[in-house]
Amino acid sequence: VTTGGLRDFVADTAEGEDFSLAAVRSELSTEFTVRQEPGAAGSGMHRRTWLDTFDWRLYKAGLTLQFEQARRGGLLVLSKADGTPQVEQPVTRWPRRPGLAEDLPPGPVRDRILVLTSPRALLPIVKAASTVSVNRLLNADGKTVARLVVEEHVTVTAPTPNSAGGTTAELPPRLAVAEVRGYPSQARKAAGLLASVPGVSHASQSVFIAALTALGRHPADYTSGVEAEITATMPASVAVARLLLRLLDTVELNVDGVLRDIDTEFLHDLRVAVRRTRSAIKLLGAVLPADLAEHFKAEFKWLGDVTTPVRDLDVHLLGFDALTEQLVAASPDDLEPLRAFLVRRRAREFRRLAAALRGPRFRAITDDWRKALLEIRDVDGPRRRRPTAAVLARAATGKAFRRVAAQGDAITSDSPPETLHDLRKRAKELRYLLEFFAPLYDQVAYRKVLSDLKQLQDCLGEFQDSEVQRHEIRDLADAMLTDSMLAGRAAPAATLLAMGEIAAKLALSQAEARAEFAARFARFAGPAGRERVRVLLANETQGRP
């Protein structure tokens, strides 16, 4: 049984010389008898696919998921970034690609990645095909004391959505010394000999990372964050254009995943980017040409609106199991007709959404918006010199904060729910502004303000979401009754009763959120909170170039 601890090498073919296995074998022959082992475990054709979510959740957690295809089914191997295998699990059939981790059969890999990746799907990131041969290294007794594993003809591909072609690259051959248990010094000796062969060097990257590099990709090259490249001293209009271009990138990067309906988070990320765009136009649009801001304000409102129905239904379906778990009187099965109803409704709404995203209005928005923003970003006329990004950031953020503070101060225990809803919107605007200009701030001060704001937003979100969901459940109950009458079926009374119980639960959590509001708000906008914001914005004005 060979243990881990592979010593990996790359045969560098860049020097123009062809890699010669003969040279390697002859070097190893000085200490060992080298014998080919046809049919050895792990030899032959290898087909591997590396999987991760669109936003690289496994990679960011320091993990690599690999699917090794065998004649029948295959093996899923979850490894640490350094290549140490963690857990593995055979799968007879990869459910459907891309698939959700929860669609995998039960097993240790599923257990390990489910929470991490959910609700995102696992996408094939890189595929590799190669030929592996194994050589035994024998000592004087004819005993196998190490193995030389040679991986050649490594062809890597970045799969494309429609599986037509995709970019392909060839990686140099890889060599590895596999240790035989109880013979560590022999493996070390073999590795030492390998390292001395001209053109052979220690592998600095895993095949996965080497493949990404060869294909011109970088790990974690997608994030849903803003992270625009702006500086304190650049003209405000340029900074805002860069910001909006970055948001437009996010919108466009997610469209394909939305249309293929891979997982719910493509639409979510798209919608967040649209909301941020709308807030930016509203709060920072003064530095843009007035007609431009006015036109796209309407266009992005339209885009936001067409995506709303599907997202609302996604939220219901994603939280469905959590909801049914709370039932006390009714049985979870009572709610199954509701789930089926939601799924049908989503299918209908999805067709509308897809038509909109494939339609001319959406294309016009993205094309014209990009063109206009690029012009602003690149044409650096004298009238765009003032104000700087730092000045704009301070003015806009300070104003947004004062507005949150004033509106929150006015809220008493008697205030109607609308005042809290309104405050939630203002808090969200403030949050977006903070995130837009994050690169300009002192990071410690920034995180302090953001963390308090998040707490306040969570509380306001809980309050409003509970209210909205309660109304939605009532609307759904109405719709189910109407629908089932149209279809000649009676809506099950048990389902409606269970929905009533859910509505009662929601009212309860809404009341809890309302009770917590005063304390959270005081923490964010009380004297200490105000001081934290003052420090943040004061630092920012000294901003780095």
Partner: protein
């Protein structure tokens, strides 16, 4: 983990060849298998081309200054590891006798940590009646006893069965099988046939006396590996299939 031990009071009855071939077959089935060569002569180690040497000797293993894990060597075959013999094993009785308490259970305790790593453990026991063999009998789930088909060896089996039956608590199943059966000898034929049908715990598969089995010491590999289609290999495969089941009542 299931522990198999090959044992006979006499030497040269095909004990080591059985242990080596059955362990190989177990590993070839995909079971993670460990063979512990307890015989200071180191025949099993020799057959796998592994030096019969353990750093610190038997003393280090029994006293626990070195774990079994550190001494294990990988064989040339997938899933099959070997814990080599060491010449100091000849003193193992003394070492076991010096163990603090329960000197007959010491080997079983040493093997406990191996349970997670292996599906099958084979103990190739030196020929004798000693504290070592008693330890092996306590540690084993299945006691594999090679028998030369003679009336005398049948008596020995009876004595062994009786001895094991006297154990408190866990007792190994005794699986005897005929070894080095000479098909030209009428007595061998008769005893083999009769006993396998009459007596519980005697395998129906005999291992014949074949020069192919002796060739193992030249090839330094299990006959089931270097001549898988030979009569000898077929006999070991049939025996392996049989001893994995419960013995006849």
């Amino acid at each position: 983990v299931k522990i198999f031990a090959t044992y006979n009071i006499k030497g040269g009855v095909g004990k080591t060849t059985a242990a080596v071939n059955l362990a190989y077959l177990s590993a070839a089935d995909g079971c993670r298998t460990l063979l512990w060569d307890l015989d200071p002569q180191g025949a099993a180690s020799f057959l796998f081309r592994i030096k019969p040497r353990v750093k610190g000797g038997g003393k280090a293993l029994i006293r626990g200054t070195k774990t079994l894990d550190d001494a294990i060597k990988g064989t040339d075959f997938d899933h099959l590891d070997l814990l080599p013999a060491d010449f100091t094993y000849r003193n193992m009785d003394l070492l076991l006798g010096g163990a603090d308490k329960k000197p007959t259970r010491k080997l079983g305790q040493l093997l406990k940590p191996m349970a997670a790593e292996y599906d099958h453990v084979f103990l190739d026991c030196p020929p004798s009646i000693s504290l070592v063999s008693e330890n092996v009998m306590h540690a084993a789930d299945v006691l594999l006893v090679p028998l030369i088909p003679t009336t005398l060896s049948v008596r020995t089996l009876d004595q062994l069965t009786e001895f094991v039956a006297g154990f408190n608590g866990r007792r190994p199943r005794v699986w005897a099988f005929f070894s080095m059966v000479d098909r030209r000898k009428t007595l061998h034929q008769e005893i083999t046939r009769d006993l396998a049908t009459e007596r519980a715990g005697v395998a129906a598969t005999p291992i014949p006396a074949l020069s192919m089995i002796e060739r193992m010491s030249v090839e330094r590999a299990p006959v089931t590996a270097f001549a898988p289609r030979s009569v000898a290999a077929r006999a070991y495969r049939a025996l392996w299939a049989e001893v994995q089941q419960d013995p006849k009542p």
